[in-house]
Structure formats: structure tokens, C-alpha cells
């Protein structure tokens, strides 16, 4: 294992930590199940790719716009969630994922099936970062996102989220507008996925539609569920485990989705709150 390879894995792991934490806002905090999270990831990545390659915009601008546009599309998906609940919302988010990937594939502006290639390396104060530098840079964003999550857990926002997750009627009865808080959750989640998309696009130097397809959504969901829905440490652990394990156990690669399916089933049966969840084995081990 070369050092560069390790740095790249760390970068991937960091990006997936951000993705799983952002999905956790939606599922863990607000109780809105989404199976199409890769769509926002892709929207963020394509935003950066289009702006950088086609319009020649600098890194700071593409980063900001990836976050804003990711958040905006989160907001847009939040709107139908006001009308459809639970199982229908799950289906709607899956549908969204397929639609977004199809748009990337079939609209020439987005480069079609070959995607957009040739993103310049991200520059900071006129300097390029190497693989190691970029890993460190993504780690910086992981820290920011973790701090944001710790902050969210302390403010009223989280109480509103928990209220709508636990019981929408009871939430309304204490003055929580259920539609407003769903919109908040989708917007925040979309914006953070947009950030992850930007980091991905500049890491790869190119974007392909299939990098954001439905299996990627399942991967992110598996990370959250395995680690522990609704916690901060859980999604982080899930993202790290599921980024590094398939690399270490190469033979698994081809059977990734099968593995994720099995993981979800086993977790649901034996560790429904996840490894680091309230009743998780790892949480209990740490307490002792």
C-alpha cells in the first residue's frame, strides 16, 4: 500500500463521513427516511464540475455554490415530503435518485455517460495540494461538520427535529411546524451532501453519472445504519469501516452491494440502534 493510496482512501473516508452525517440529519434527527441521498452528492459534484470546467470559476466559488445548490435541491425535495409520508417518501427519494442520474446521463450539457472530465486541482492561495494535503483538507471539513452536528444537538432545531420524528401531531401541539422542520432537515442535509460532492469532484478531477447512482445511496444508508442512526459517532464509524474494509478485503469488492444488504439485515435483527447506538454493543463496551 503506497502512501498516496492511503491518502486517497482517507479522503474517500472523509467524504463519506460527511455524507453519512448529512444523511443522519435527515434520518436520525428528523426521522425522514431518504434512499436517494447520492442525488444531492451528485448535484454538488456536478455543480462544481460544470462551474469549474465550463465556466472556469475558481475553487472558492464552486465550493460555495455546490453547498448552496445542494441545499436548494434539498429544499425542493423537502416540498413533496410535506405531502407524502414514510413509505411513499422513501419511494419518492429513490425516484429522485434515478431521475437525477438519468439527467446527468442524457443531457449533453452534463457530458452524457462520459461525465465531465478535466477539473483543475483545487488551489489554495495559488498552490495546489498534493494527495496528502487534500486528505488533510477534507479532514478539516469533517471537523467542521462534526462541530456543526455537536452544535445542532444543543439548539432548539434538534428538539424540533426530534419532535417531528417521534410524533408529528405532538410536535404541532407544542408549536413545532412540521412542514418547516422537514424543510430545514432536507435543506441542511442537501447542503452538506453538496459539500461532499465538491470535495469528491476535485479529488477525482472528473465526475461520472454512475458515481451518484442508487447503490451509492444504499452505501451511505448502510454506513449510517451500521454505525448508529441518530448519533454523531455512529455514522463516522460506519463511513470509516465501509470505506476501508472493502479495500483491505479486495475479494469483497465485487459483492459490495450484497455485503451491504447483509449488513443492513443483520444490524436490523441484532443491533437495530447500530454499533454505537443507544443499545449498541460498542457503546456498551466503551461505557464499561
Amino acid at each position: 500500500m503506497t502512501l498516496d493510496y492511503l491518502y486517497t482512501l482517507i479522503t474517500f473516508s472523509n467524504i463519506f463521513i460527511i455524507l453519512s452525517l448529512s444523511l443522519n440529519v435527515l434520518i436520525g434527527y428528523a426521522g425522514q427516511v431518504s434512499l436517494g441521498h447520492a442525488a444531492f452528492f451528485g448535484i454538488g459534484a456536478y455543480t462544481s464540475a460544470v462551474l469549474a470546467v465550463k465556466f472556469g470559476l475558481g475553487y472558492g466559488t464552486t465550493l460555495l455554490l455546490s453547498v448552496l445548490i445542494g441545499g436548494f435541491f434539498g429544499f425542493l425535495l423537502g416540498l413533496p415530503s410535506l405531502r407524502v409520508r414514510h413509505d411513499f417518501l422513501v419511494l419518492a427519494t429513490i425516484g429522485l435518485n434515478f431521475v437525477v442520474v438519468a439527467l446527468f446521463k442524457y443531457i449533453d450539457f452534463f457530458g452524457g455517460p462520459y461525465g465531465i472530465i478535466g477539473l483543475p486541482a483545487a488551489k489554495f492561495f495559488g498552490k495546489e495540494l498534493g494527495t496528502g494535503g487534500y486528505a488533510l483538507y477534507t479532514a478539516f471539513w469533517v471537523v467542521i461538520v462534526i462541530l456543526l452536528m455537536i452544535y445542532i444537538e444543543k439548539i432548539y432545531l434538534r428538539y424540533g427535529f426530534e419532535a417531528i420524528r417521534e410524533n408529528e401531531d405532538a410536535a404541532e401541539s407544542i408549536g413545532v411546524s412540521v412542514p418547516l422542520f422537514k424543510i430545514y432537515a432536507f435543506t441542511i442535509s442537501g447542503a452538506l451532501a453538496g459539500l461532499a460532492g465538491n470535495l469528491w469532484a476535485y479529488q477525482m478531477g472528473m465526475v461520472f453519472p454512475d458515481d451518484f447512482s442508487f447503490p451509492v445511496s444504499i452505501t451511505i444508508l448502510t454506513m449510517v445504519v451500521l454505525g448508529g442512526v441518530g448519533t454523531i459517532s455512529g455514522p463516522i464509524l460506519g463511513a470509516v469501516l465501509l470505506t476501508f474494509l472493502p479495500e483491505l478485503l479486495r475479494f469483497i469488492q465485487d459483492y459490495r452491494l450484497l455485503l451491504y444488504g447483509i449488513i443492513i439485515v443483520i444490524v436490523m435483527m441484532y443491533q437495530p440502534s447500530g454499533l454505537l447506538g443507544r443499545q449498541g454493543i460498542l457503546r456498551k463496551a466503551f461505557k464499561r
Binding site: I155, E166, A170, S173, I174, V176
Partner: protein
């Protein structure tokens, strides 16, 4: 304080409420009673905004509230509990109460900047928990409490919203005799805090003991109202509860 004016509600072909009017006066403990299916919970759901009346309207403190979303009605000062308890099971007892204290903040940008855990809130939350006899359980997850205590927690959470009117849907159901006696005591304390109570109940002994005023519904219509003693002697009420020609004595 609260005026229900000629409210009707139908669900498809079923008419749950037929032109019901009544008034809840400030400072009262007002009971809404009636046999199963009389439309009591439907009435509650209309008052707090979960349902919109098919016709008629509801006014609170002189303003029309029917048609407003429930969180707006909560903001105006109407809080409620539920027939089937709906605490926030994964939050601790005190967090349930703290969550109830944000009605002004939930609609503002304050949700992004303010924490419920300030000294003033915690002090108020502990007072409410003491009032409801839950102080010692403040750090337990709500779901671990037995049903009687969860009902009290729901009341504490509703009171946390600083309501002017409190709607309680069958607060005594599932309680033992001692808990029911404590509940009557709690009702009076709440009233003394200046909170008006409107409650639905099946336990007649409890209702007649604690209520100042009773409104009786049957098959979606108001069939009687008045002081507990007047109502319990009303032949239409007896008929509604026992059926015509029944020989069973109450």
C-alpha cells in the same frame, strides 16, 4: 374564552358532529362527556386545528382559530394531551418539558441560535415536573415510564407551552384510584395557575367531582350542559348513557 359555534364535521358519509355550539369560560374546569363515538375527540381535533370543521367556526379570545394550522393555535395559547399518550419516547423526561417551551422560538430563526437548556427554562421545567410529581424521574427516557406517569408528563409538556387553555383527552384513563385522586388535585392546581381546562373523560365519578361545568355530546350533538349535578339528573343524559328503557341503575 373559547367559543365553538355551530360546528359540524363529516367524514365521508359519517357525520361526527352536527351543529355543536358551546362556550368555555375562563378559569373553569370544563368537562366534555358523552358515550363512545359521540364526537368528543373530533371536537378536540377541531379546536386545536388537526381537523377543519365542515361548517361552523371556533373562536379563541375573540379571534377565529378554525382553519389555522395546529402549531399556530398552540402559539395562541391552546395546549393539549392525547387519548393515546404521545410523549417523545426517546427524549428524557426533562427534555420533553424543555421541548415544550419553544413555541415562540420554533417559528423564528432562534431555532438556529438558542438552546432550551438555559437556567430559566430548566428552573421552570423542574417546577412543572414537581407539580406533576415527576421531578425524581427527570433523567429517565420518557418511554421507560409507566402509562400513568407518561400521562402526567404529557400534561407537564403541555403546561410548558404556557397555555391559557389546556385540552386533556381522557386524562384519567389507565390510572388507578390513587392516581385519579392526585389528578383531580393537579387539575385544581393548574386552574389556580390561571389555566382554563377543557377535558374529555369517561370516569364519571372523577368528572363530576372535579368539573365546574359539563357539556354532553351524543351522536355528534350537544344534548345537555350545565353544572355536574344538573347534568347527571338530566333524563336525556341518562338515556344516552344507559339506553332507553334500561333497567340498569347507575
Amino acid at each position: 374564552m373559547l367559543r365553538v359555534i355551530d360546528v359540524s364535521k363529516s367524514f365521508g358519509g359519517l357525520q361526527a358532529l352536527k351543529g355543536v355550539s358551546f362556550e368555555v369560560e375562563e378559569g373553569r374546569i370544563h368537562a366534555l362527556i358523552g358515550p363512545n363515538g359521540a364526537g368528543k375527540t373530533t371536537m378536540f381535533n377541531i379546536i386545536n386545528g388537526f381537523l377543519k370543521p365542515t361548517s361552523g367556526r371556533v373562536e379563541f379570545l375573540g379571534r377565529r382559530i378554525s382553519g389555522l394550522p395546529p402549531h399556530r393555535i398552540a402559539l395562541m395559547g391552546i395546549a393539549r394531551t392525547f387519548q393515546i399518550v404521545r410523549t417523545f419516547p426517546e427524549m428524557s423526561v426533562i427534555e420533553n418539558v424543555l421541548a415544550g417551551m419553544g413555541k415562540e422560538i420554533y417559528r423564528s430563526w432562534g431555532v438556529f441560535f438558542k438552546t432550551p437548556w438555559n437556567q430559566e427554562n430548566v428552573k421552570k421545567a423542574l417546577e412543572l415536573l414537581r407539580l406533576c410529581g415527576l421531578e425524581d424521574l427527570k433523567d429517565f427516557a420518557a418511554s421507560t415510564l409507566p402509562i400513568g406517569l407518561q400521562r402526567k408528563l404529557e400534561i407537564a409538556r403541555a403546561l410548558a407551552t404556557s397555555p391559557k387553555l389546556l385540552l386533556l383527552d381522557e386524562p384519567a384513563s389507565g390510572l388507578n384510584d390513587q392516581e385519579t385522586a392526585e389528578l383531580a388535585e393537579l387539575f385544581r392546581k393548574i386552574r389556580d395557575f390561571g389555566v382554563t381546562i377543557l377535558f374529555i373523560e369517561h370516569d364519571m365519578r372523577f368528572t363530576m367531582g372535579v368539573a365546574d361545568f359539563v357539556t354532553v355530546l351524543d351522536y355528534g350533538e350537544k344534548i345537555a350542559e350545565g353544572k355536574p349535578k344538573e347534568v347527571s339528573r338530566n333524563p336525556r343524559v341518562i338515556e344516552a348513557y344507559l339506553g332507553t328503557g334500561s333497567e340498569i341503575s347507575a
